[in-house]
Symmetry: C2
Subunit: 230 residues, 2 copies
DNA sequence: AAGTGTGAAGTCTTTCACAGCT
DNA sequence: AGCTGTGAAAGACTTCACACTT
């Protein structure tokens, strides 16, 4: 209870969620040979306001130079360090359906900071397949990962119905962070960090805004609105 | 300037983002034959607190019965209506790589409220392929969708480098909401709604928490803290 | 008795605007 | 002169706790 998932002596959640964006923008600047950048410029590249950017960075420390701006490579390093990307985190992906395959070969993992150490699937027909250089293993391989202590981040890409079972297995194997792409609610122990990405949810949020744009009216107490015009 | 993308006479963004979760939980209850539910129970199924749930629902209207709870099917309908899911929104997916294929066949679209009307890809080698019953078309097909007025929500599943170009094309074709799975920042006109889903970002946020768990101490500079006090 | 709906208090986040350093 | 870093103000969101309804 009093132990929030958020006992932070340090960096606010909202800030943490934006740091990856800054890091990416800095990477692009590096690629273009830019070595120094102002908060105004970096904010523009990242799609936030400069005040927000400065406040965010101020939580990491004082890495800018007044009157000048930020050194691109130094700031990149500091953000990487704050995010814990100066070492590699082992990632296990469970569920090698379309989505799992996409994730396994997605460039996101190529980003420094992560290494896919195992691809798992429940289906014997899928086990043994080679995806992006890794052989798909059965769920029982979790025991090995657990013993090796090489389970740290787990990604769930199974159908929604299996998500809780998979999450339980991951937690039992020592995984302490879970990224859930399967729909539905998954419960994990207090000390395990869980994040959720769901296509339906995203689409439904967009639908809300589409409707607002079109409808205009749609207030709560308006009873039955016109049925399908189509 | 003062014109926020967010002039809401109605429902707070944070609430809108949770409504899909309630809707899913209600669907499960319906499947189990439950016809009435309390805020406590529905909150538990949705992974939120009951106070938050009640406050959220209060923004839609007063659809509960004191001393009793909520009627499952009526509440489902009201949430669907609030989200704009009482009609179908046409969705265009651009980029038929691994991710695009996964999205095209993902159950998320099967959820009532959306219809995939086109799959597009820039690569002539991919055009013509049939995925989940739809034939992949070239980017030029956007002109047709635009003329039909059947472009409403666009999903970008291309490599990051093409994202801005694709977004521009979608907007030109009349798309008013965009869901971007490609990394990087994409700019769209004020009136177009944009949401972003990025694997790297999610992993990096998890890495932060993993590190916090492990590292414990190691805060960057303590010197600066003292400075601010003087 | 049970459980919703909601003001009010509390917490977190963003924005403002400017002091302070280079 | 220019740009960062940051208190203070404003705003958004969450939690509390209870009046009110069935």
């Amino acid at each position: 209870m009093s132990a929030e998932p958020n006992a932070k002596p340090g960096i606010p959640d909202a800030t943490v969620a934006r740091l990856p964006g800054y890091l990416r923008a800095l990477g692009q600047l590096t690629g273009r040979g830019v070595s120094s950048v102002s908060s105004e410029e970096l904010a523009e590249s990242s799609g936030v306001s400069s005040a927000k950017l400065r406040k965010d960075l101020s939580h990491l420390g004082s890495y800018g130079v007044r009157g000048v701006g930020y050194d691109v490579s130094h700031l990149s390093y500091q953000i990487s360090r704050a995010l814990g990307l100066t070492r590699d985190w082992p990632v296990v992906i469970v569920g090698m359906g379309n989505l799992g395959r996409a994730l396994a070969s997605y460039g996101g993992f190529a980003t420094k900071g992560f290494e896919v150490v195992a691809l798992l699937d429940h289906d014997p027909q899928v086990v043994g397949a080679v995806i992006d250089g890794l052989t798909v293993e059965p769920m029982s391989a979790l025991a090995r990962l657990s013993a090796e202590g090489s389970a740290s981040i787990g990604v769930i890409a199974t159908p929604a119905g299996s998500a809780q079972t998979v999450a339980d297995a991951l937690v039992a194997a020592g995984v302490t962070s879970v990224l859930n792409f399967a729909g539905g609610v998954v419960h994990v122990p207090e000390e395990v960090h869980l994040r959720k990405v769901d296509l339906s949810t995203e689409l439904q949020i967009l639908a809300f805004h589409e409707q607002r744009r079109a409808g205009g009216a749609g207030l709560p107490d308006v009873a039955q609105v016109a049925r399908g015009m189509s």
